[in-house]
């Protein structure tokens, strides 16, 4: 069982099959996985409003079907360079502590069913910025998938703000 699965639903899911479903996304060429029950929706962010004075990771706020969503630039959050060229951007919608967030990523991949037992701890030498928000690593054939721990991605940012 992963450290991220705290919701009752997820626990039930895991205990039944021992499997966790991940929505995979690409950020800067790296494959990341988000536990599917954390993902609200996937959308194309439109007409984003900049928020001056906000943390650099905050890309802005936008209107998603009448709700105000705070968009997080994941590349910045992970300390990656900004994407060059003109690409369509995608966002993964997440509910966190009653608020809506959108994680801006490069691309959305497929949904993977992974064995919870296959999760490995972060390598000790992982970039601290990554280690901070990573819930572990899955070895897939040909590539590695880093588990994105939503609580830590957003929680740490909210925490920083409070400090």
């Amino acid at each position: 069982m992963t450290a991220t699965s705290h919701t009752p639903g997820a626990a039930a899911n895991d205990s039944l099959s021992g499997q966790i479903q991940y929505v995979t996304v690409f950020i800067g060429g790296q494959l990341f996985g988000l536990p599917i029950h954390k993902v609200h929706d996937v959308f194309v962010p439109e007409s984003m409003t900049r928020v001056p004075l906000s943390a650099p990771e905050v890309a802005g706020v936008l209107n998603l079907r009448g709700r105000i969503v705070t968009a997080i630039n994941m590349r910045r959050r992970l300390g990656l360079p900004q994407r060059e060229g003109n690409h369509g951007i995608m966002a993964v919608g997440i509910e966190y502590r009653g608020e809506s967030y959108g994680l801006i990523i490069d691309e959305v991949g497929e949904v993977l069913n992974l064995d919870a037992a296959g999760r490995e701890a972060n390598p000790a030498n992982l970039d601290p910025r990554w280690a901070e928000i990573s819930g572990g690593v899955h070895r897939l054939s040909g590539q590695l998938m880093v588990i994105l721990d939503v609580e830590r991605v957003l929680g740490r940012m909210q925490g920083d703000m409070a400090a």
Partner: protein, 916 residues
């Protein structure tokens, strides 16, 4: 819990709140039969319904309280203890009700014997003077209305639902019913006939007093009759609606407003749309609907005040103070959400006023006030705002203490403090640091939780401001919006981003262009705007938000949104102004909440998200650097107050001995002369000239002053009552008007310090030093020359410049001068028993101005005869008259040094004459 019980709880809670208020009123006017009847009936109804609903504990309590109040009705003395006891009982009832609600209608277990026996004991004690048999007292529900007894006889044991309903309804204040149609008091299930009998007996005994009372009551009610019946009819036309229902309605209307805005936006883009007319109609309907729903949320502010009389009463007793609570404008309506949010801050502030603001009776007497302190609550509408004032006539805030505390807490440096206006210093009591330490309470007077108060008020978009006059009291002014849900905003653009600014803080819009009448000027790099004879500090919104400004845009073109927050006015520079839009404020994400520049965000008609600028955040970001007190009604005083920093003074610039310029205030100089060298004579080791028939000694500021060999020698002549002195200089340079700010003090005798004048460091000479050089006895002549007559003088001036300037002058005049920087400091000195022969006081001072200071002194027998001279930069007939009324003996212009000396001499001479 069944509906009946729920109704009962709501009604009873309301009744109890009323009883609270009424009881406190009653304590103050124990002879007001109407109030007593009101209370009596409320308690009585509670008792009745409790019995019906099978709540024996409550019934017993209510009964005991009712009995005691029955005694009051019979004319027993209303004592503080008795009222306290009843209040205590009501608290107990409230407690039980709360538990009842929590336990879904189950009366909590417990015993109230303690209270009941107290109440009974009190009833008996009350009864004793009337010499009625105590046994009966216990039995009877004394003072129950005659009519009720009659009814009980008529229909014993009959309890219909109708009656019960009536009982509920009657809880609403309707006096007539109490008399004509008794409440369904027969509620108790089993009729205690013994009690009925006792009551009848009692009635017989009391027949006459009761009758009288009825009459008295009737006449008392006559006046109120109309109002009451009106009220009654209104209440019968109203229904109770669950708050949630209203909230939901409000949310839906908010969404409707948003949708309408979206539609309007779409139609705006299509010129000839057939939707235009129906949309206009929709728009109107929406607006009306919005207004209507808003109205349902409106409640009189009196609801938030209801508990205050009781709190103040309890506090007064606890603290041993006499406090009168005045409430004005209790029917001012505001949104219930806002009401809920300000309830606690209000209570807190009233508590503070009672606790720290008002003095004890003996202190008040000493200060020449009435023993009873007053706390005044006032509410009224102003624009889209509600203004609530909480004023006390207590001791006021101590500016000095606050200053000390600010420095201690490191909230500002002394230098920063010097630049702050009084108001800004006072505002520090709202700083978080001020609330923590317990000793602050005793030191600064106020403080506990004021930061919480401010935060609470600011979260609802309100502001809190205060004015305080030492010895006179403190007034807090809270300004809050009528409603929170929908805000009218101005949409502006800055660097390509749009922002919403709440219109409530927008005073006006100014368009600036380089070639127009309004243009941005700069002092160093600080942009300012001349607006109707005032300099308005400007801040570019982009700069404030640290958004990069696009290079091609001219910084000097755009719009200025003139905003007012509290008493700070400033201009926000934006690139464009669009339209105004009603928006529904949505809270920001937690991740953004730390940005104080924004208060929230919203979705505009076009679907985009926009940030709402928080005027409070902007104002505090601009900080004290550009804050101006444009609102201060004491504009004159303000202008003069800043003499240290801003006021222009005419300075005479000259050179003497060195190339660096020197200066003296022009007003001190009698005239400028040039004497031919031949006219300068030497006698007795000094240089003299014959000037207007007498010999004028010449004084050289230093040894380097060139003594010319030929031609003429320029000099500054200072004259005083026939005597003159010539200060020899090398060259008279200029006369300039500059604000004088002595930045570097000096230890060199004869030099006050250095200031920047015309961009050059300039020595400011201390003329007071030179005068005695010319005549050793320069002021110590004639009547005041005797050494024995060295008189003690107290000089008060908040300006360091004048303290330095005039202090030596008065010293030179033969006075033993004590200098204070503020009236409070002076009062402390006087309070400690220091005695002075003469007091010279500045008028324009922060905290306590000269007028108030003089008035205060004149009230004290010790200082009634002490001559007081006013010094003022402002010498209008009105201010002179005000000075005379305040008790000043003389009123002298600040720069009129000879005038001051003359006044001093005159007063001294008069005194001397009397003494001799």
């Amino acid at each position: 819990m069944d509906d009946l019980l729920r109704e009962f709880l709501t009604e009873t809670n309301e009744s109890l709140d009323t009883v609270d208020v009424e009881l406190v009123k009653f304590e103050q006017e124990p002879n007001n039969a109407r109030i007593l009847d009101n209370i009596f009936r409320l308690v009585h109804t509670i008792k009745g319904t409790c019995g019906f609903l099978g709540l024996p504990r409550l019934e017993a309590l209510a009964h005991a309280a009712e009995t005691l109040m029955g005694k009051f009705r019979e004319g027993a003395a209303v004592t503080e203890e008795a009222v306290s006891l009843v209040l205590q009982t009501i608290d107990r009832i409230k407690g039980i009700l709360a538990e009842l609600e929590a336990n879904e209608g189950e009366e909590p277990k417990g015993e109230d014997r303690d209270l009941i026996s107290l109440l009974e004991a009190m009833s008996m004690a009350e009864a004793a003077p009337r010499k009625e048999p105590p046994k009966k007292e216990k039995k009877e529900t004394a003072g129950t209305l005659v009519a009720q007894v009659l009814e009980r006889e008529l229909r014993p044991g009959e309890v219909s639902l109708d009656e019960l309903e009536r009982a509920f309804r009657e809880t609403a204040v309707e006096v007539e019913i109490a008399t004509d149609e008794p409440p369904a008091e027969e509620a108790p299930v089993g009729i205690d006939f013994a009690r009925v009998a006792a009551e009848i007996e009692a009635r017989m005994k009391q027949a006459s007093p009761d009758g009288k009372e009825e009459k008295a009551k009737a006449s008392a009610e006559d006046g109120e009759g109309e109002a009451k019946s009106e009220k009654g009819s209104v209440s019968s036309q109203s229904i109770r609606v669950n708050v949630e229902t209203l909230e939901h309605l409000m949310t839906m209307v908010s969404e409707l407003v948003l949708t309408r805005n979206q539609l309007l936006e779409i139609v705006r883009r299509h010129e000839d749309s057939e939707f235009k007319v129906p949309l206009q109609r929709l728009s109107n309907v929406t607006a009306e609907l919005q207004e209507g729903v808003m109205k349902t949320r409106m409640q009189p502010i009196g609801n938030a005040w209801q508990k205050l009389p009781r709190i103040v009463r309890d506090l007064a007793q606890e603290l041993g103070k006499q406090i009168e609570l005045e409430m004005v404008g209790a029917d001012t309506e505001l949104d219930r959400q806002v009401l809920e949010l300000i309830k606690d801050p209000l209570t807190h502030m009233v508590r503070n006023s009672a606790d720290h603001g008002l003095e004890r009776p003996d202190d008040r007497r000493k200060a020449g006030k009435t023993e009873k302190g007053t706390i005044r609550l006032a509410a009224y509408h102003e624009g889209g705002h509600i203004i609530i004032e909480i004023a006390d006539d207590g001791r006021g805030l101590s500016l000095e203490r606050i200053r000390q505390k600010i420095i201690e807490n490191g909230l500002a440096t002394e230098a920063e403090l010097e630049k702050m206006s009084e108001g800004q210093i006072y505002k520090h009591i709202f700083a978080p640091g001020f609330s923590t330490a317990a000793k602050v309470t005793s030191v600064s007077g106020r403080g506990v939780g004021m930061d919480v108060v401010r935060t609470n008020i600011e979260t609802i978009g309100g502001t809190v401001d205060l004015k305080s006059v030492q010895g006179k009291g403190t007034t807090f002014t809270i300004k809050i919006p009528l409603t929170l849900a929908i805000v009218s905003t101005l949409i502006v653009e800055s660097c390509g981003d749009r922002f919403a600014i709440p219109q409530l803080s927008v005073v006006e819009l100014v368009r600036v262009q380089n070639n127009s009448e309004h243009r941005i000027e700069r002092i160093k790099d600080t942009p300012v705007l001349r607006l109707r004879n005032k300099l308005l500090p400007l801040v570019p919104l982009a700069g404030l938000l640290k958004v990069e400004m696009s290079a091609e845009k001219s910084e000097d073109e755009g719009f200025i949104v003139v905003m007012q927050v509290g008493n700070v006015t400033f201009g926000l520079v934006v690139d464009g102004v669009f339209h105004t839009e009603e928006i529904v404020v949505k809270p920001m994400s937690k991740m953004l909440r730390h940005i104080t520049m924004f208060s929230g965000n919203t979705i505009l008609g076009d679907g985009s998200v926009i940030m709402i600028v928080d005027p409070n955040g902007v104002a505090s970001a601009i900080g004290t650097a550009v804050a101006t007190d444009t609102l201060d009604s004491h504009a004159d005083a303000d202008a003069a107050r800043g003499i240290d920093n801003d006021a222009k003074i005419s300075m005479l610039l000259f050179r003497a001995g060195s190339p660096e310029p020197k200066a003296v205030p022009l007003s001190l100089v009698t005239r400028l002369e040039e004497f031919e060298i031949e006219k300068i004579e030497h006698s007795n080791g000094r240089d003299l000239v014959q000037y207007r028939g007498s010999l004028m000694p010449l004084v050289y500021p230093n040894y380097d002053v060139r003594r010319r060999e030929e031609g003429t020698q320029p000099m500054l002549v200072f004259s005083d009552s026939g005597r003159s002195m010539g200060l020899v200089v090398d060259e008279i340079v200029d006369i300039v008007e500059e604000s004088l700010n002595i930045q570097v003090g000096s230890d060199v005798p004869g030099v006050l310090g250095s200031a920047v004048i015309k961009g050059k460091a300039t020595e400011i000479l201390d003329i007071g030093h030179y005068l005695p050089l010319a005549f050793e006895d320069w002021f110590k002549r004639k009547e005041i020359s005797s050494a024995a007559l060295t008189r003690k003088l107290l000089f008060i001036d908040d300006s360091a410049f004048f303290r330095n300037m005039l202090g030596p002058v008065m010293k030179a005049a033969g006075f033993d001068v004590t200098i204070c920087a503020s009236a409070t400091e002076a009062m402390r000195l006087l309070g400690e028993g220091a005695a002075f022969d003469v007091i010279v006081s500045d008028i324009e001072m922060p905290v306590v101005n000269g007028f108030e200071f003089a008035e205060m002194l004149r009230r004290d027998a010790r200082f009634r005869e002490t001559p007081i001279i006013a010094l003022s930069a402002l010498c209008t007939p009105a201010s002179i008259e005000r000075g005379r009324q305040s008790g000043f003996d003389e009123y002298v212009a600040k720069f009129d040094r000879p005038g001051l000396i003359a006044a001093l001499k005159e007063i001294s001479a008069a005194d001397y004459g009397i003494a001799a």
